[in-house]
Symmetry: C2
Subunit: 200 residues, 2 copies
Amino acid sequence: MATSPRTRLDPDARRAQLVELGRRMLSTRPLDTVAIDEIAAEAGISRGLLFHYFPTKRDYHLAVARAAAQDLLRRTDPDPSLDALSQLRASVEAFVDYVSENRDPYTAFIRGAAGGDPEARAVGDATREAFTQRVLARMGADRPSPRLRVAVRGWVAFTEEVTVDRMAGEALDRDELVALIVEALVTLVRMGGGELPGPA
Amino acid sequence: MATSPRTRLDPDARRAQLVELGRRMLSTRPLDTVAIDEIAAEAGISRGLLFHYFPTKRDYHLAVARAAAQDLLRRTDPDPSLDALSQLRASVEAFVDYVSENRDPYTAFIRGAAGGDPEARAVGDATREAFTQRVLARMGADRPSPRLRVAVRGWVAFTEEVTVDRMAGEALDRDELVALIVEALVTLVRMGGGELPGPA
């Protein structure tokens, strides 16, 4: 990732470099305390060039949040050759592992991308909704009842919370946590009037 | 709330006035776009006096977030004369009603008080943990298993999500939502190996 001041990158690569750098820097410090100058210096580019890509600090922060969300969704996309329950278990395992390895960026950008900023808040909402739709699609629930959709959406937040909270303290081990999350889904889907297809 | 520039308030009243003002202003706008000057002008005090109470913008934001969290916990504190399940239902009703009436401040300060700021993130975490401990206490679970504690903590996030998401769109009505949240708790507590005492 280290780039000398003279390295020339094409625009997409430069943008990706800046976003990745932001994910690392901003995950441990509030955005308010990070100067644009510092980011530019770290990337080995001028302040002007950074503003060419991201006109404001907020634009930059939003780009970092969106990239983090896309990365998470990609890494947790389940193997479609498995049955629905196995896909969901694999996806939960990938989620727990991802968050364990990226706790600070995760809490900073996906979960916590809020403050009073509606666009940042929308990144977190869209990510939770994408997970919700993915679960409903894997269940074959094309037209879920409002109750089922709400139950699954709530489960996504349940999953996020127990995974993040787990890292903070006293806890279940990774496999106990995955088992609890999968059981919670089975239970909440049933409560919502749906069913999770298991192995044939 | 409108205060003429010459009104003298004692320090606690002034602090409370500034915090309440912040809750209203910052709930609809990102913190970055709100100038300290603007807040001071709105309160009818000098910029210097505002900095006397809150040395930085971030201190001010944290004070607003903490006050919002305390207010929420106070309003959802259940009546101890009821049985455990009725207390929890009353508490869920109060939570749903509070968030319905205060969606923007709620999402801005309690749920979303994160960004990359560890202290702001701690406000949201402490609030969710306070709800978790309250539920466990009402269940009489003095020494909950890790599995039960995690299940209840996850339910707190479930509740938060379905209440906030509900406001955004297609949905259950208030009583259906309360019923779903209470059922989810009963179900998740059982899954966690606990039990919710119902009416005698």
